[in-house]
């Protein structure tokens, strides 16, 4: 009988929360490529991306902020 090899030892999660803490709720945020700072924010992906590129960040990473107090539960499935 083979024993399943443990995946790895415990790791600290990557923490972006201190970087994103002041970003506007619901906004799209363009992070620097190394994810160490916010380069731009906008109401849309295009707006945030364009601003970031105008500021010299050629390859921003885009993420949408939750609205105030928003959590996450379950996913989305085909509707019967």
């Amino acid at each position: 009988m083979s024993k399943k090899k443990p995946m790895t030892t415990e790791a600290a999660p990557r923490d972006l929360s201190s970087i994103l803490k002041d970003a506007p709720p619901g906004a799209w945020v363009a992070l620097s490529s190394d994810k160490t700072r916010i380069v731009a924010t906008g109401d849309s992906i295009s707006a945030a991306s364009l601003q970031a590129k105008q500021k010299g960040e050629a390859t921003p990473v885009l993420v949408r902020m939750p609205i105030e107090g928003e959590g996450s539960a379950a996913g989305v499935s085909e509707r019967a």
Binding site: M7, T8, T9, E10, A11, A12, P13, R14, D15, L16, S17, S18, L20, K21, G26, W28, A30, S33, D34, K35, S44, I45, S46, S49, T59, P60, V61, L62, V63, R64, M65, P66, I67, G69, E70, G71, S72, A73, A74, G75, V76, S77, E78, R79
Partner: protein
């Protein structure tokens, strides 16, 4: 390939996010943070990504009607695009690009912005979560 969970926002717990790029021909998206979500049937993205970044014409694309926790019906269009997963360094392409059926929805406003679901992501990558250790493993099938 092992990835760490990411605590993305101040009031949410660490979650399994990946950085990805989508491609349609010569059109590619920006790098996008996407949540690995086994509860989603397909990878789901805002329609803006299809229209503005991928230049997809979805007028005759298959319609997918879905609902989330509220039960409210939402309409998405399905399209096959290239999906590339980036390493934690945000540069390396840790797997080759795979073809993935993705859903694009006009009124999709999920926290984080994008989801990676069953058909198109989990069908392409064997995914093992180890939440107590804050890591998950992705293996190309």
């Amino acid at each position: 390939m092992i990835f760490r969970y990411t605590k993305a926002f101040p009031n949410t717990p660490p979650r399994p996010y990946l950085d990805i790029i989508l491609r349609n021909g010569f059109q590619t998206t920006d790098k996008l943070m996407a949540l690995v979500d086994s509860g989603a049937d397909y990878p789901i993205f805002p329609m803006e990504i299809a229209v503005d970044q991928l230049r997809l014409d979805l007028r005759s694309a298959p319609v997918w009607l879905f609902s989330g926790t509220t039960g409210k019906a939402q309409i998405a269009r399905l399209a096959d695009v290239g999906l590339t997963i980036l390493g934690e360094d945000n540069i390396s392409h840790v797997f080759g690009e795979v073809s993935s059926t993705c859903a694009f929805c006009e009124d999709f406003t999920f926290s984080g912005g994008c989801l990676l679901g069953q058909e198109g992501f989990f069908s392409r990558f064997r995914t093992t979560f180890d939440q107590p250790k804050n890591v998950f493993e992705i293996v190309a099938v």
